[in-house]
């Protein structure tokens, strides 16, 4: 069974501007599959549709067409089942900022059915694994650096033992050291857990170093999806940036807006 099957997935949003209302495509019939245990990176500039894709797979959006199946379950009709299988880390760590790391993890674990007896030891242990200092566990999140907050976000995602991990630009805005630590942790998670990872990023080096296959999403269309070496060979490129240019016809940071919501 595939970990993720996405077929002809389409999403449009209504945009209001000086000319009135108009429909803008964020995803234009995206197709791909991910094997269990695989790490796939979807590479695209800002506005390419990456976050829309992640939010659709997180059951936070309804599509305008197509379908997506997570371990055989329809992501839009069997949402309760899918939500148990999936967790997500997004670009901004989402926490109640006055609450501590332990408090944020504690209530979140309950939402996934974990009782206090199950999290009493698990929370300190998972925070230790992500390299979170023990003496700061009870500090409000607002006192923590972005890098530390992102570690707590990873800990929260892993606490619920997801078998599909959606990472939406998990290292954007982090300092180089925190970025390396988070990337190392993602490698460990793949090695130690039976987790499948969909990584959406605009960090070319991150995509190349973490993923088994790399896809290029541009203007809501998935242009290709294959191992980074094959991708570069296909476009006769030395770097992923060159491959992106060859595939899309424009430089990486000048993507055509697709990620409108």
């Amino acid at each position: 069974m595939k970990a993720l099957e996405v077929h002809n997935l389409r999403k449009e949003f209504t945009r209001r501007d000086g000319r009135g209302k108009r429909r803008v495509a964020a995803l234009k019939g995206v197709d791909f599959e991910i094997e269990r245990g695989e790490c796939v990176a979807i590479l695209g500039p800002n506005g390419s549709g990456k976050s829309t894709l992640v939010r659709l797979l997180s059951t936070l959006l309804l599509p305008d067409g197509g379908d997506a199946r997570v371990f055989g379950h329809d992501a839009f009709r069997e949402t309760r089942v899918v939500r148990r299988l999936v967790n997500r880390v997004s670009v901004e760590a989402s926490f109640f900022k006055k609450m501590s790391a332990v408090e944020n993890l504690s209530y979140a674990a309950r939402f996934y059915g974990l009782r206090p007896s199950e999290t009493r030891d698990a929370i300190p242990e998972i925070l230790r694994r992500v390299g979170f200092p023990a003496d700061r566990r009870d500090e409000p999140m607002e006192n923590l650096s972005r890098g530390m907050q992102q570690k707590v976000a990873l800990a929260r995602a892993l606490l619920t033992s997801p078998i599909l991990l959606l990472l939406d630009e998990p290292t954007t805005g982090l300092d180089p050291r925190s970025k390396q630590e988070v990337q190392q942790f993602i490698r460990e998670v793949r090695a130690e857990h039976d987790a499948t990872v969909l990584l959406c990023t605009h960090d070319l080096a991150e995509a190349e170093s973490l993923a088994d296959r790399v896809g290029i999403l541009d203007g809501g269309a998935l242009l290709c999806l294959e191992p980074a070496d094959e991708l570069k060979a296909r476009y006769n490129a030395e770097t992923l940036e060159e491959a992106f240019f060859a595939a899309s016809g424009h430089a990486f940071e000048n993507g055509e807006g697709g990620d409108h919501k």
């Binding site: 949003f13 209504t14 829309t52 939010r55 997180s58 059951t59 936070l60 959006l61 309804l62 309760r80 939500r83 148990r84 999936v86 997500r88 997004s90 901004e92 989402s94 926490f95 109640f96 900022k97 006055k98 609450m99 408090e103 504690s106 209530y107 979140a108 674990a109 309950r110 939402f111 996934y112 059915g113 974990l114 009782r115 409000p140 409108h260 919501k261």
Partner: protein, 277 residues
């Protein structure tokens, strides 16, 4: 059978998570809560002083009775405000903190999520309302020897079912309009109380407002609580109010859940279920 019991266990644990989170928030914002409580006390005093003011300008009333009538009205207003505020925070606060996506993608059924918020709101609201009542009653030196507090509490609990149902309907408003939805919740609270005789008998209202008062749970909550506190009415004397509240609750909770679900579906269709609106 085992699957069902496991699913039920997950839901109950999830419900405890909703309550646990709100307790953490109260703990972290305790000084703000105390400040807000002081504002509520001041607000209630300004209303209840009206009873003292009427004789001062030549009116003839039973000051203690009117004081109690106004106090009960003000306490119910404050209680309803807390219920609506907490339920509206289901969306509004989560959006502000940026946790809305994380919460709404968790495997927690929406009814359990909303009921968890409602149960916390009742517990927190009852403590606040009891404190408010006690502080203001002591301030005015009210001697409520006949008061049947357990009966008043039962009426308030039964009324809470309806209040939560209506609160669920208003909770969805910030999902549809992130900018103005929360304020519309206050509008609903105001409209509910103005037809319910919050500081006056319903009989003084125009006919069409009196008709609306019959479907407002606040009407029966106010009438029942006043009867219990002023006249010492017991539950056997309050069956009309309790039955009316049960019937309204039986309609308003499913309607509230349906409204929220419809609003959530709209938000998911139009991309509004996210942190920045």
């Amino acid at each position: 059978m085992r699957t069902m019991s496991l699913a039920l266990r997950h839901e109950l644990v999830g419900l405890s998570g909703v309550i646990e989170r709100n307790i953490y928030l109260v703990k972290r914002y305790i000084w703000w809560d105390i400040a807000f409580f002081l504002w509520t006390v001041a607000n209630t005093l300004t209303i209840v002083f009206i009873a003292k003011g009427i004789p001062a300008v030549g009116g003839k009333i039973d000051v203690e009775k009117v004081t109690t009538i106004l106090l009960v009205g003000a306490v119910i207003w404050a209680y309803l405000g807390i219920i609506f505020e907490i339920l509206t925070e289901t969306v509004a606060w989560e959006r502000w903190e940026g946790t809305i996506e994380y919460t709404f993608m968790a495997p927690l059924s929406r009814p359990v999520h909303l009921i968890g918020m409602g149960l916390f709101a009742i517990g927190y609201g009852v403590i606040r309302a009891a404190l408010l009542f006690g502080v203001v009653a002591a301030f005015f030196g009210l001697h409520l020897h006949n008061a049947n507090y357990p009966a008043a509490l039962v009426v308030l609990m039964v009324a809470s079912i309806s209040f939560i149902g209506i609160g669920m309907m208003t909770a969805v408003l910030p999902l549809i309009s992130p900018e103005k939805g929360t304020q519309l919740g206050f509008v609903a609270q105001g409209l509910l109380l103005v037809v319910s005789g919050v500081y006056y008998p319903v009989s003084v209202l125009p006919g069409w407002m009196q008709a609306l008062s019959t479907i407002s749970p606040a009407t029966y909550a106010l009438r029942g609580c006043r009867a219990a506190i002023i006249n010492g009415a017991g539950l056997s004397d309050l069956t009309t109010e309790i039955w009316a509240l049960l019937v309204i609750g039986a309609v308003s909770v499913p309607l509230g859940l349906w409204t929220f679900r419809t609003g959530e579906r709209y938000a998911k269709k139009h991309g509004k279920l996210k942190r920045s609106g």
